[in-house]
Symmetry: C2
Subunit: 146 residues, 2 copies
């Protein structure tokens, strides 16, 4: 029994990649599986460090390439909430983000946490298609640490 993924989960990830027309390489698999297993939207550096923590799995350039490939087929997306920091997220369903102003951590907020906004009244000249809310404040951990 592996620590983070059962065989059926692994197989599911392989099928997802194949279904999108991506070749399944150990590196690509590792990047996607890691992103799927976490909800903290890591940076490339964090991802790379964790992948290679035990044994070398992927080079930096390949992580970049993998993320680009995954992004192009819509399995992964970028999260931009902070200057100079690009984070990646395997949750491509619409959702909101909470960012702690102290520890800079990020938490997903369920899409239905809010009553849907009415985009039709925005402006007759704009075609609004999608929206997301970015919330800032203090997270549970930083609140209790005061």
């Amino acid at each position: 029994m592996t620590r983070h993924t059962t065989n059926s989960q692994a197989e599911k990830i392989v099928q997802t990649l194949k279904g999108k027309g991506l070749r399944v390489t150990p590196q690509r698999y590792a990047v996607y599986a890691n992103l799927m297993a976490r909800t903290d939207h890591p940076t490339v550096d964090q991802l790379l460090t964790e992948l290679n923590a035990n044994s070398p799995v992927s080079s930096q350039a390949t992580v970049y390439a993998s993320l680009q490939a995954l992004q192009q087929v819509g399995l992964v997306r970028e999260v931009l909430l902070e200057e100079g920091v690009t984070r990646y997220d395997a949750n491509v369903m619409p959702h909101h983000h909470f960012r702690c102003r102290q520890c800079r951590g990020i938490k997903d907020i369920a899409w239905d946490a809010f009553t849907p906004l009415d985009l039709t009244t925005l402006s007759p000249n704009l075609m609004a298609e999608h929206y997301e809310v970015t919330i800032s404040g203090l997270c549970d951990r930083c609140l209790s640490e005061d």
Copy 2:
């Protein structure tokens, strides 16, 4: 009569800078005045190009320094909506952003365009202090150009 700013507007900007404890230099003034006069959240490059369009006003390094100084006293803020692109905004009042997925242009959306969201129901463990909405779609120009 100048094109973009009357003398009283210029004086107001000088007073704003002084009020925040910033020395008023031609470069700093130019950066802030330019940002105040536009609503399109330019990048450093755009800002620099426009400032020096007629006569040399500021170096690149100084624009960066000016923006940093202005940001620290809360007269200017960053807008991050696109990978690798940092934009600057002299409108520090809370407001939302619309981003056109075609021309990549950005429009401000008034704060009261939406009924206020209820942040209290988010989670008992988070202290949500602020939020902003990011909307995407097609802007008026791109809609009519189809």
